[in-house]
Subunit: 114 residues, 2 copies
């Protein structure tokens, strides 16, 4: 997707602070962090949003959560606690049209989830 | 887990509004909904939290997201938008010690994720 900012980050065309990369998943720091640790985990292939997932993508989503857990440990928030969030569509608050999972922690998070 | 409220819901020992069930996943309505649609998706087997997942659980987590997408369609929020949240540990805001995924929608959600 030529006009997708996350595809450009994945391809190295836009600078970013990448913390993890494998063949199907890339993770980088959110440029406007809401919490001391605020990472975004994205699939390398352009999937616009959750509703565009097919049954075949279940393994990919499971792997994204596995990577999130690894990164939580790397960031030192695995024991203190963290939150995974995927926003989908307008009312879900999705701001970039490339599926992404937020990994947030480093302070007490609100019980209000949206 | 004898003292786990979600295990009791899964086993039918506590009444709840169950909207989905298969061999490995159960979904029911949150008893204190924050949004017009607020579902909880849980694994049937007792997993305390995200940090307790093993590599073997990746498929289960992928299936939970697949079920979340199906339920979003059933609830009529797939197109308007929705949010998936998994809280882990104290600072993550996890209130019940049985891994669960929130599915939230039905109104505009806040951009503040915690």
């Amino acid at each position: 997707m030529d006009d997708c900012i996350f595809c450009k980050i994945i391809q190295g065309k836009i600078p970013s602070n990448i913390v993890y990369r494998d063949d199907e998943i890339v993770a980088f720091r959110d440029i406007n962090p809401q919490t001391p640790t605020h990472l975004l985990i994205v699939p390398v292939k352009h999937i616009t949003s959750l509703v565009d997932l097919t049954f075949k993508d279940a393994a990919l989503m499971g792997n994204m959560i596995t990577v999130a857990n690894k990164l939580a440990k790397d960031e030192g928030i695995a024991e203190s606690g963290y939150r995974l969030v995927i926003n989908c569509g307008k009312q879900g608050g999705q701001l970039v049209a490339h599926l992404h999972m937020h990994v947030m922690g480093g302070r007490q998070l609100s019980g209000q989830l949206g």
